[in-house]
């Protein structure tokens, strides 16, 4: 079996990344788009594009019926879900199967099994993988959840049983704060995943987030591709990821890799997945606990690609087409150091408030060892409806210090103007002594927030540059050109 035409059921940078991989293999691509994305880069890059609905995700990118219909009408024979949206929705994987489409990911029942935090924990515990104490009460009322929190022992995390990515997640330190947090978590869970079931887990203080990339095929092979440390988070969403983790000793690295393979085997896993662990302590005494499994490609997969030299999306396509994994465990090596920085349209000084608006100026840095995965261009409008991720900056270098220096130099040459981004904030994280020392934990940003929000005095050069800029002359003419929106509507025809 080989794939002829792949529908990419996503938007933004990940849609582009998948389209580019398909193009290298001479596989046709079909993009989908909501009305907010008719002129988006992923639409331009694909061979064909099909509109799937209005801007709100529930009516477009999250509409299983519309996406399946787009695949049918465009003659696609396979679907790549990317991350987010429908990627971990077992109903979607089943609908693909029912429509005769190859779902580029694990089987639906594995998604379902691992998507349930409770089921996944039970399975992992049975497979001998260490787990964090926690439970999902049958009684999902506020009272039932408060009782569960007390049973697990404060402090606890309350989170969406169906979810991931920090949506619908709250820290609760005592019974007093539980009520509002539970209600908010439930609302967000419902809105994001269509399922308000909540899970209560013991909060491990100052843990590191260390995850292991795994990959399985239909021929019984399962390998791991080493770890990524993703401890730099804000609002429970990852901001900076790296590999190797500065916290793992060689022995621990081997143990966590083996645990991840055992977990993937226990799940009957196929295609690319990630086993997330919490790492507690450091050095020889550190312990890791299974956190959850992500049954899809991760946002931060380029970090693994950089240190191992493999292409995970190509491997996904190979495996989905029935091929064997291109590598054995022994052939895989971890070389050098890679860091990914997520550039968000957000204002760190306003509680990381997401920003929408027009990118008046957007210029990507270029240098050896620098990769930028983005789905936007100068002049684009960043819509309000979706995740505020603008771009991923991935650097690789011979050592961690060289990678940090490279990332800092790249950020200083990554001007984005017109809406606030976290680029200045990321620079301050990179330059923080604790980050340089590798002294990380998932509360890093909160702990150092004051220092990380510290802004320099306005230098005279900045004032002068502003004064020298007038509205008529400044900014690229391309903004005006792309602002002439009429031709865009023409683009929608091509899906037919």
């Amino acid at each position: 079996m080989s794939l002829r035409r792949v529908l990419v059921a996503n938007r933004g940078e990940i849609a582009l990344r998948i389209i580019r991989a398909c193009r290298e293999r001479r596989i046709d691509t079909v993009a989908i788009f909501s009305d907010a994305d008719a002129a988006a880069e992923h639409v331009l890059a694909a061979d064909t594009a099909v509109r799937v609905g209005p801007a709100p995700p529930a009516e477009s990118y999250l509409s299983i019926a519309n996406v399946i219909e787009a695949a049918r009408s465009s003659g696609a024979d396979a679907v790549h879900p990317g991350y987010g949206f429908l990627s971990e929705n077992p109903q979607f994987a089943r609908a693909c199967e029912a429509a005769g489409l190859t779902f580029i990911g694990p089987p639906a029942d594995v998604i379902e099994k691992m998507g349930s935090k409770i089921g996944a924990r039970t399975l992992m515990a049975a497979a001998g993988v260490p787990i964090v104490p926690g439970l999902t009460p049958g009684d999902q009322t506020d009272a039932g959840l408060v009782a569960a929190a007390a049973a697990v022992g404060y402090p606890v995390l309350v989170k969406a049983s169906a979810g991931g990515g920090g949506k619908g997640m709250r820290v609760v330190r005592d019974a007093a704060g539980a009520g509002e947090a539970i209600a908010a978590a439930r609302r967000e869970a419902l809105s994001a995943f269509g399922d308000g079931t909540l899970y209560v887990e013991r909060l491990i203080e100052r843990p590191r987030h260390v995850e292991v990339q795994v990959f399985g095929d239909n021929h019984g092979h399962v390998v791991h591709l080493f770890e990524r440390e993703c401890s730099i988070q804000r609002r429970h969403q990852k901001v900076i990821e790296e590999s190797p983790s500065p916290a793992l000793t060689p022995a621990l690295r081997e143990a966590i890799g083996e645990a991840a393979v055992a977990a993937a085997r226990a799940a009957g896993y196929r295609n690319a997945g990630t086993i997330e662990f919490l790492l507690h302590g450091a050095g020889e005494d550190a312990a890791f606990y299974f956190l959850e499994m992500n049954t899809r490609l991760q946002v931060e997969h380029p970090v693994t690609e950089a240190v191992t030299g493999v292409d995970l999306v190509h491997a996904q396509l190979t495996v989905a087409a029935g091929g064997a994994l291109p590598w054995t465990q022994d052939q895989l090596t971890q070389r050098g150091h890679a860091i990914e920085l997520r550039v968000y349209a957000e204002d760190p000084r306003a509680g990381f408030l997401p920003q929408a608006g027009t990118l008046l100026l957007y210029r990507e840095p270029q240098a050896p060892g620098v990769r930028v995965d983005a789905g936007i261009r100068e002049g684009d409008a960043v819509p309000v409806h979706y995740d505020p991720l603008l771009a991923k900056l991935i650097v690789q270098a011979e050592t961690r210090t060289a990678a940090i220096d490279r990332a800092a130099a790249a950020l200083r040459a990554f001007p984005v103007l017109g809406i606030a981004t976290n680029i200045p904030f990321l620079l301050r994280v990179l330059d923080h002594p604790a980050f340089r020392a590798g002294d990380l934990h998932t509360g890093f940003i909160d702990e150092h927030l004051d220092a990380l929000l510290d802004e320099p005095a306005v230098p005279d050069e900045a004032v002068a540059a502003a004064a020298a800029t007038n509205a008529a002359a400044a900014g690229p003419a391309a903004v005006e050109a792309r602002g002439a929106a009429d031709p865009w509507s023409d683009l929608r025809r091509w899906g037919r």
Partner: protein, 167 residues
């Protein structure tokens, strides 16, 4: 053509800039700093010719310099600054959907009370009272899509500052 003078505001601070015919800029009467446009959106500025990127939209100016972003507003000499007063309305910072309205006209609220919950980009954004006060008017309702800058709630506050944050 004669030199051009303008006032730029960053935060609370006003800068008086003079742009000479050769493009050199003087700030608050300081020495002229050479300025040369290097490419679209790119500029070389100051005695060291530092590289900066700039953008403009209406009265707003954006400057990217060595990884920092500075924003300015060109002040209109004919208008006076509107200061955030005791009646400043609370507005959404971005387009958003109203999830819930807790504020009731005439109700007394305390600092930190949630007045409205918005949702944007799949995250909840509570609009909270930054000080004790009384709700003067509510201009939104649940389910409504609101634009940035349009007042959602007006309050008579005991202190002047209104705050938007995220839990």
């Amino acid at each position: 053509m004669s030199a051009r003078a303008l006032v730029l505001r960053a935060g609370d601070r006003d800068y008086r800039a003079t742009v000479a015919d050769d493009g050199a800029v003087s700030i608050d009467g300081g020495p002229p700093m050479p300025a040369a446009r290097a490419a679209a959106g790119e500029i070389r500025i100051g005695p060291q010719g530092r590289r900066a990127w700039t953008a403009a939209s209406g009265a707003n100016r954006w400057v990217f310099l060595d990884g920092h972003v500075f924003t300015f507003e060109v002040q209109d000499a004919r208008r006076r600054r509107t200061t955030a007063g005791a009646h400043a309305p609370l507005a959404s910072p971005m387009p958003a959907t109203v999830v819930r309205v807790d504020a009731v006209t005439g109700a007394r609220v305390r600092k930190g009370d949630t007045l409205v919950i918005l949702e944007a980009m799949k995250m909840e954004l509570p609009i909270r009272a930054a000080a004790d006060g009384v709700v003067r008017a509510v201009h939104c309702s649940s389910g409504e899509l609101v634009k940035p800058g349009i007042p959602l709630v007006e309050m008579d506050l005991e202190t002047a500052r209104a705050e938007t944050d995220i839990p």
